[in-house]
Symmetry: C2
Subunit: 138 residues, 2 copies
DNA sequence: GTTATCAGTTTCCTGAAGGAAACTGGTATC
DNA sequence: GATACCAGTTTCCTTCAGGAAACTGATAAC
């Protein structure tokens, strides 16, 4: 992943006439790269919801997430949590209770996604209002 | 789509004891719904990039998008543009030039996504810095 | 000893996402 | 009349995201 990004950047900055042209006409190019970098972490049906609920509610157990995130199954939940943990967005802690429980919690780094998540939530709420009132003025 | 959302809301507000419980413990529930509503519009590999570039650069032609959005093919570009147009995020205008050209432009409603896109770009840039300096402090 | 809960894993399956390449059809240029 | 550019469309193909359901294995309650 790191290598991939470094490669991309090398290609971008050297010996590519098209890229130079694009840089000349405003570097949206760099911002598009930032979007794909962000979406590499956030893509898929569940990750943003999981980050959101952990931001909103603090730590949660596996079963709680299963019950609170509408429609998710155990397999996808497990998979997405592993992925988010690998990317340092959340932590996993096993508690030695009688039946063991596992707590998932957002990391400090994960919290840096709060403005992004909030912005998505805000737009989504506004969007729903627009749809329901059929008031999308072009 | 509208019906779908209305149905969901009906289910949410009535006769579902679990939902009532969740509402009692803080309505993250409503915010998760907002996330899925937003992602219904933004999901997939290309839509956020397309909205981004049209926000950054104003109107663009089909071929320009094809050349500027790294990796996209004509089929996907066409499909995603149609979808964004159907959702009133962008407009399509055919210009009667010698070989006809087609301009795509963000709508006023599409512009309401700017804070969201910007927030994703900002996080993505920060994320790349972190990765490259290997400085992700837990 | 049967059932339940915890937190998953495994298997099997399907549909959708997405890509490559060829094709369309109109106009202009050489 | 051959080639090229415009903006797509169509076909064919592969891969992967994601879901359902059964299973694991430990402990506790009845």
């Amino acid at each position: 992943m790191i290598a991939e990004i470094l490669t991309r950047e090398t290609v971008d900055l050297e010996s590519n006439p098209e890229t130079i042209k694009e840089h000349a006409c405003g570097d949206h190019h760099e911002r598009l790269l930032a979007i794909t970098d962000a979406m590499d972490i956030l893509h898929g049906k569940w990750k943003i919801q999981l980050i959101g609920i952990l931001l909103f509610k603090g730590k949660m157990r596996f079963g709680e997430l299963l019950r609170n995130v509408r429609g998710i199954g155990a397999k996808m939940l497990s998979k997405e949590l592993q992925n988010l943990e690998a990317n340092k967005i959340i932590t996993r802690r096993v508690l030695q209770t009688k039946p063991i429980t596992v707590e998932y919690e957002i990391t400090r780094y994960g919290k840096s996604l709060e403005p992004t998540i909030t912005s998505i939530v805000d737009w989504g709420m506004n969007h729903r209002k627009k749809i329901m009132s059929s008031d999308r003025t072009n």
